[in-house]
């Protein structure tokens, strides 16, 4: 028997969903136009007035919002409510150069809690469950996002945060966690560690897992399910739009239902910006139609995906989106952290190295690895081995503080990095996902 957190919404008729979207979009466009000067300018520049938007059919008239807009208005330029009404801030993972800040009103948090609770119930959780959260807590939305939803559901929250795998396993066993929330690669790593300890899924009471914030394959899902003895579910979200829970997987385990009462999804051609018909692959664009503090409209996620309408075996009527199949920009997601090659380049140049580098991403024992190969230059070379190694360590430290990620730095011979058509191939992603 399928269970729902809000059946009247999750299984509403398409007409009802459409009515909610029409009404909320019109209100939201007015809200953004009246309270965010930056949005007013974007719309004025495009010659669109709030009254031009009468329903979802008019959505295409609105200008897109890009990550650049969020950086240009850093930190609070896109906030649509006074700071006294903002009760929480989050920021995108990683970086200083590319950091963006988002805000939430109390009502925004309430909605976020609801959509995460929908996910939890969709994977079979009830107030009887113990929800073990191994996403990082802090500015990253993973930890507190799942935390809020599980609290709202009335489950028992175990806020473990990330890291220290042995301790995670001790808590899984001793506290009797029944639902695990973390990145898929960390779930696989916990599974492997469990096996190395001579244990199996039968030794822990875990029954389901909610895994997101990075790309993963069906093979990885099977591997996690087998090693931990659970059902593994996908969750989609991004800080700009809300955080985890923008879309959620159900018992069918075939695509994620978009919470259409709060977000409108479009698939567009990333080159032309044209809206693509259902079933065609393109860039995912989201509009927030209820979020008050941060009303993003037509936000270009740069994730590539596809949507499918039609009925789902679970009974939910929300449209389903595929797992993201890639990116329309050069952003990499490594161990759940967003990394742009340009950030790595900045660190190299700041440390006196040349911009001749190559980034090699791989997945070893379920964990993403990041290696940066840098060409040695006459300026950085000395006959003193200790000095070269010291500079290498400084570079690793520089990357850690900018990216929030441990990278391996490998010094290579000059001109050894292959240039194709005069331009270096910056990224080699060996991960099979």
């Amino acid at each position: 028997m399928e269970r729902y957190y809000q059946p009247e919404i999750e299984c509403a008729s398409r007409e009802q969903i459409r009515a909610w979207q029409d009404e909320r979009l019109v209100k939201q466009v007015r809200h953004a136009y009246d309270h965010v000067p930056y949005y007013k300018k974007l719309m004025d520049d495009k010659g669109v007035k709030p009254e031009d938007i009468q329903s979802v059919d008019d959505l295409y008239k609105l200008p897109f919002t890009y990550k650049k807009d969020l950086r240009d208005t850093y930190p609070y330029g896109l906030f649509a409510v006074p700071m006294k009404d903002v009760v929480r801030l989050h920021a995108s993972s990683g970086t200083t150069g590319k950091q963006i800040v988002v805000g939430y009103t109390r009502e925004d948090l309430d909605i976020w809690d609801d959509i995460v609770a929908r996910q939890l119930v969709a994977v079979g959780a009830t107030e009887e469950d113990k929800v073990h959260i191994s996403y990082g807590y802090g500015l990253f939305t993973g930890g507190l996002g799942l935390h809020g939803g599980a609290t709202k559901l009335g489950a028992t929250v175990i806020p473990v945060s990330s890291g220290n795998t042995q301790r995670q396993i001790t808590i899984l066993r001793d506290f009797g966690s029944t639902v695990l929330c973390c990145t898929p690669s960390y779930a696989a790593f916990i599974g492997e560690t469990l096996h190395e300890m001579g244990l199996t899924g039968k030794d822990i009471p875990l029954k389901a897992g909610i895994f997101g914030a990075e790309a993963w394959s069906e093979e990885m899902r099977k591997d996690i399910e087998e090693k931990l003895g659970i059902k593994a579910y996908d969750i989609y979200g991004l800080t700009e739009i809300m955080g985890p829970g923008v879309a959620y997987e159900c018992s069918a385990q075939q695509g994620m239902h978009v919470n259409e009462d709060h977000f409108i999804i479009e698939i567009i051609d990333p080159e032309t910006g044209e809206v693509l018909p259902e079933g065609q692959q393109g860039e995912i664009v989201f509009s927030c139609i209820t979020r008050q503090a941060f009303p993003l409209l037509r936000y270009r996620t740069r994730d590539i995906g596809v949507i499918h309408r039609g009925t789902c075996s679970c009974g939910r009527t929300f449209v389903k989106m595929s797992k993201p199949m890639g990116r329309s920009d050069d952003m990499l997601i490594i161990r759940g952290v967003n990394v742009f090659p340009s950030q790595i380049e900045t660190v190299l140049l700041n440390h006196g190295y040349s911009a001749n580098y190559q980034i090699i991403v791989d997945r070893v024992k379920s964990t993403d690895t990041l290696e940066v190969q840098v060409e040695m230059t006459p300026e950085m070379f000395t006959d003193n081995m200790g000095e070269i190694e010291r500079r290498q360590r400084e570079l690793v430290e520089g990357m850690r503080s900018l990216l929030g990620l441990a990278a391996k730095v490998k010094l290579v011979a000059p001109k050894s990095i292959v240039r194709s058509e005069g331009k270096a191939v910056r990224v080699i992603d060996k991960r099979k996902i």
């Binding site: 040695m376 006459p378 070379f381 006959d383 003193n384 010094l411 011979a413 050894s416």
Partner: protein
């Protein structure tokens, strides 16, 4: 006086050293001494050659990153205690040795040569000279 050592960056991969010696061989550069410091990923080849100008020119043309390092060369009588005596002098003068390597000399059959990389070549050279130990001149390298 000090002599010039050429230090070259090489990757720690099969054939990397061969590539370097190939360039030197092709241009008739004669190696007097060679030592290699390595990590698991890269190495520094340190060498003394007969013609520094020619060697650095051809290495640069071949795309090698290299630097010139002043080092102190000493001819040491090939007898027990020979090296010990030199180190005694450097120790007394409080000269720190970063690294050193040895080679057996061509025409001077009864001697070995030591190359010392020290923080202060002038101090080392003066201390050795004061105890009657001559250091090698750059001009002498070619005729060794």
């Amino acid at each position: 006086m000090s002599i010039k050592q050429i230090s070259v960056f090489v990757e720690n991969t099969p054939g990397a050293l061969y590539g370097l010696t190939g360039v030197l061989a092709q241009h008739q550069v004669d190696l007097r001494a060679l030592s290699l410091a390595e990590t698991s990923e890269f190495g520094i080849v340190r060498m003394i050659v007969d013609n520094v100008y020619q060697a650095t020119t051809v290495l640069k043309d071949a795309g090698y990153v290299h630097s010139l390092t002043p080092v102190v060369g000493v001819a040491i009588p090939d007898v027990p205690g020979g090296l010990n005596r030199v180190l005694q002098v450097l120790t007394d003068a409080k000269v720190n040795i970063e690294y050193m390597y040895a080679f057996l000399g061509g025409k001077n059959v009864n001697h070995a040569y030591m190359i010392f990389r020290v923080a202060d070549e002038a101090a080392a050279t003066a201390a050795l000279a004061a105890r009657g130990i001559q250091t090698l001149e750059q001009d002498a390298i070619a005729s060794l």
